[in-house]
Symmetry: C2
Subunit: 216 residues, 2 copies
DNA sequence: ATGCTTGGATAGTGACACTCTCCAAGGGAA
DNA sequence: TTCCCTTGGAGAGTGTCACTATCCAAGCAT
């Protein structure tokens, strides 16, 4: 199929597809003539993944590029490719400078990993983006006057463990490793808003249950 | 304290504080003279909350203004104020147009509420922003080739229920209703990145457990 | 041949949080 | 009192970033 058809089938404007090609989020099509390129189903799936990352995940284009590079890096084995892809996912502008709250946050995070027995996290965690995200988030919490303790965060971490089991179950429904890697990335990103909105609905429900009629 | 001191204590540049004042995210200080205003601890706390919403929550300023209005709306009782504040939280640009996937997503969402027995959600849900978020997220999932069924989403919803219990437990540690409302808003927003990063760490751990050594 | 389409490059657009610049009016020290 | 520095207010500007509108040259189809 050619660019116009790719655009029609995916619902993405041609101008935007051109932009993605330019930014190397999408591999170039196979050149048929000097003025025509042919795209396949792989392009269509990739395009959908890009939309998931950029539109739903609000990920900077540069970050999406890295994630996609990991997805198609054949030099990694399956687990590593899964890991590397999800690995590259968040790219919070960097730890910025080492505020005093950050040190305390890092301590809490380390203690948390130990308490949960997440050895993998302990081995490679301290340099993983997700670990950095966690430290930043805890630091922000403290800076804004909501101090964190390991006991406070533990329930959250246990719940996150359940989430991961559910996620990996979904991923394992896909057959080929390539599909699994794609699904892992897509679902990690696409289920985030699902999770967050369900959490807010559940909060409303729980608050209704607890405070209903309490007119203080 | 005056503007300069408020800036110093909060770490927010004076220009930004002026901007927040102009945008009515921060109530004006008490005018001492024609050229001087006095700010109190309430301003400091409010400023922190604003930073939580705008910087961590990446919320548009206009949305933050609505949330803050609900926080300080004395005409509502406690539960309503909690609800209204969290209510106004997300403001995804609107459902846009009614794509075909949206209808299916709405069906799934309704069925989900029923299955969970979330009556509050069923009563007021369909117009709540969080409900709209959920529908959009499910529609995006379907549009990108990952169809959703109630059975797929149910585990997520149950986990969200656990999260809400943990959240409300944290909120109830605060004594006064005013603090509780503030905490509910702040924690809802500030714990989101904590949750998402923990989920990613847990995914890495779980993937390590399942695929370790699998070199396909 | 010729008009329409294709893909590529360049320069804009719009949204949005923030920030710079300027200004009038005090207020403290000499 | 007088002078300079600070304060708070208002408008316009900046940077970022995803996206888009405009051109352009080179075919392909009629």
């Amino acid at each position: 199929m050619r660019l116009a058809e790719l655009s029609e089938r995916s619902g993405v404007p041609t101008a935007t597809i051109k932009y993605y090609l330019r930014e190397r989020l999408l591999p170039p099509g196979e050149r048929i003539t000097a003025t025509t390129a042919e795209y396949g189903d792989a392009h269509l799936r990739r395009l959908r993944l890009v939309r998931a990352l950029v539109q739903v995940g609000k990920m900077p284009v540069a970050t999406a590029r890295e994630v996609l590079a990991a997805v198609e890096d054949d030099s990694l084995d399956h687990h590593m490719r899964l890991g590397a892809a999800v690995w590259a996912l968040p790219h919070p502008p960097g730890p910025a400078q080492e505020a005093p709250e950050t040190t305390a946050a890092r301590r809490t995070a380390d203690e948390l990993m130990r308490r949960l027995g997440w050895q993998y996290g302990l081995e490679v965690g301290p340099v993983s983006p997700a670990y950095g995200m966690l430290v930043n988030a805890l630091a922000a919490l403290a800076r804004l006057g909501y101090p964190h303790t390991v006991e406070n965060v533990l329930p959250y971490a246990r719940i996150a463990g359940q989430l991961a089991v559910a996620d990996l179950d979904l991923v394992e429904e896909y057959e080929t490793p390539a599909e699994q890697v794609e699904a892992a990335v897509a679902l990690t990103v696409l289920l985030e808003p699902v999770l967050l909105s369900l959490r807010r609905l559940a909060e409303a429900e729980e608050s209704h249950r607890r405070f209903r009629g309490d007119s203080s």
